[in-house]
Symmetry: C2
Subunit: 362 residues, 2 copies
């Protein structure tokens, strides 16, 4: 059997080995089914139990109050970028306030403009997306139905240290940090995340929505675009991505075994610190894009003095089983995504390689 690498891909991304082994073991025959999870009806008793357990795990891990619906949808975050304003701006004749802190929140604001009034209440683009705003910089609009932000910008490698404080409900794209730390659910109208970074495979999007937001949905929308209809059918308006939900069940079970989200936060912060310490000790050989207090503990984005060295770094890393370290195609450089499932030893191996590479090439 081929050896596994340390996979720093930004997404789809590393999953816990124990989760993969369990899925592998059951792939031909889910216990009690006589068939694969890939083959059983979404209306079967067995899948019903998987769906219910996954929801219960999510509710427990994120401490989700009872007045929030938990849904498993399709189409990734960019579909949510459209559905949120389609349901909540267009239908209520209100506006959406957007905090633009990087590529993904900029994209969300741009998609929202196809649906109605968008107020960009803070934009970090002129500063080259090196930081997140302070609460004092955020003034929500009089007609705002919500204030949208992206908790962690994977491309720029910057993260909100904590939820912003504003006077309207928050909508958060938590795609690249879901389950990496506790959240204050009460602040949210909606929290959503595609699964393929920290929660499972590509093809399922977790949407947690407060009941009043569910009720705002447009009755005139096609059923698959109406949160109300999706929520009323408990993610089963049509066949949901059954395998993705099953995988999220295994991942959330693993997270509970790890001790929950405060434990994960501590582990994640410590892993990230190993890399940032090496970067800060490199006398500028490695450079981080974002300002220090906003550095992401999920996506460590950095670059070397020249593009030739970037290339050499990624090439030589492969010999140490350190894979997928290339930065996003829009910015280049390096990006080490160190999600929940990246073990500490993978980060230590990368840190050691970085220290050694800097010594030889500085």
């Amino acid at each position: 059997m081929e050896e596994r690498v340390y996979n720093f891909s930004a997404g789809p991304a590393v999953l816990p080995v124990s989760v993969l082994k369990k899925a592998q073991e059951e792939l031909l025959c889910l216990p009690g089914c006589g068939a694969s999870i890939l083959e059983i009806s979404h209306r079967s008793k067995q899948f019903g139990e998987i769906l219910a357990q996954t929801k219960a795990n999510v509710r427990e891990l994120l401490n989700v109050p009872e007045n929030y619906k938990i849904m498993f949808l399709q189409g990734g975050s960019i579909t949510q970028f459209a559905l949120l304003p389609m349901n909540i701006i267009r239908n209520t004749n209100k506006a959406g306030d957007y905090i633009v802190t990087g590529t993904w929140s900029k994209k969300a604001a741009s998609e929202a403009k196809t649906q109605g009034k968008v107020n960009v209440i803070w934009n970090g683009q002129d500063e080259k997306f090196v930081r997140k705003p302070s609460d004092a910089e955020l003034q929500t609009s009089a007609d705002a139905a919500y204030c949208y932000y992206c908790a962690n910008e994977t491309i720029e490698g910057i993260q909100f240290p904590t939820e912003p404080n504003v006077s309207v409900p928050l909508i958060c794209d938590a795609s690249s940090e879901i389950f990496s730390r506790p959240v204050q659910m009460e602040k949210y109208g909606v929290l959503f995340a595609c699964a393929q970074k920290n929660a499972g495979p590509a093809g399922v999007t977790l949407v947690i929505m407060r009941d009043d937001f569910v009720e705002m949905s447009g009755a005139d929308l096609p059923s698959m675009f109406s949160y109300k209809q999706l929520a009323d059918k408990d993610s089963m308006l049509n066949t949901p991505p059954t395998f993705g939900i099953y995988m999220m069940k295994l991942v959330t079970e693993w997270l509970k075994e790890q001790g929950g989200l405060e434990v994960m936060r501590q582990k994640n912060v410590e892993k990230a610190q190993l890399l940032y310490d090496a970067i800060d000790a490199s006398n500028g050989f490695y450079r981080v894009h974002g300002n220090k207090e906003f550095r992401s503990f999920m996506n460590v984005s950095f670059r070397l003095p020249t593009e030739e060295l970037d290339k050499k770094f990624q090439e030589e890393a492969k010999a140490f089983k350190l894979a997928s370290l290339g930065g996003h195609r829009s910015v280049g450089g390096e990006r080490a995504s160190i999600y929940n499932a990246m073990p500490r030893e993978g980060v230590v191996a990368l840190r050691d390689f970085m220290v050694d590479f800097a010594k030889k090439n500085a």
Copy 2:
């Protein structure tokens, strides 16, 4: 290891055992990757090859001309029910002609009405959806951009013997019969199918679209709802359902090994005939819903003289490893879905059980 059953689920549905074994074998480590298919970037070289190969297989099997795009989307068929009129009716100010032959085409017409003008040009509801129309019964509208139909109605168990002949391009929901027989692609503007019946797991929808239909898409739509934008990005506008596409690659490879779609058609017709012959020889003990010449060779829907016998039938079948024979919750009775991956011996086992059960209970 638990024994596998013969799984007659209407979808998610049986997959070829060799496909499941291959996926299982590679689940921890895709050859050459050092990581699972669930963990690798959709922008990786390895996934790029999987996507290209899956497209090539689909093009070869269905004999798709070069002026058609092949896309792998999310959200199932009901999302397509909305996107098609959203892009093609609303944007062109034309109408959509709909042939309503059962639950699924009725649903498609209903979703389309949220987006613009819909002409139901034939409706089998008053006849209780027992047949498909003849060409002579179909008169397309002067303003029709397309004529929509559902090739196989899974719930009513009726199927078009061949494509209808009309004067505008066809749009076909082929969800429950894709890859079960050859198609005449030139007749189609769009052919689409969710994967979870005959092509793979839930969570990926195959959309084959002629270039002029792609070009009709609305430029003002959110990106994930615009066929033009989806097609231009070759299913990679955002992270596609990578595992579903990988599974469709394995399924289409298996279909090629079987000898292609004409071979599958013959096998499927023969399998269905085994069941219909037993039904016709049962002196009315088993009754089929649809008219004889429109009986589906994918979903054999039937019922017994009483609901008590329906229940007893399904219960006793389990002892013979014959599973998921319940009809759709909207109609009850029995449904044996015998897609490509259902082996002949499974159908023979069901036929033998049916003959025996009728003898004992008639």
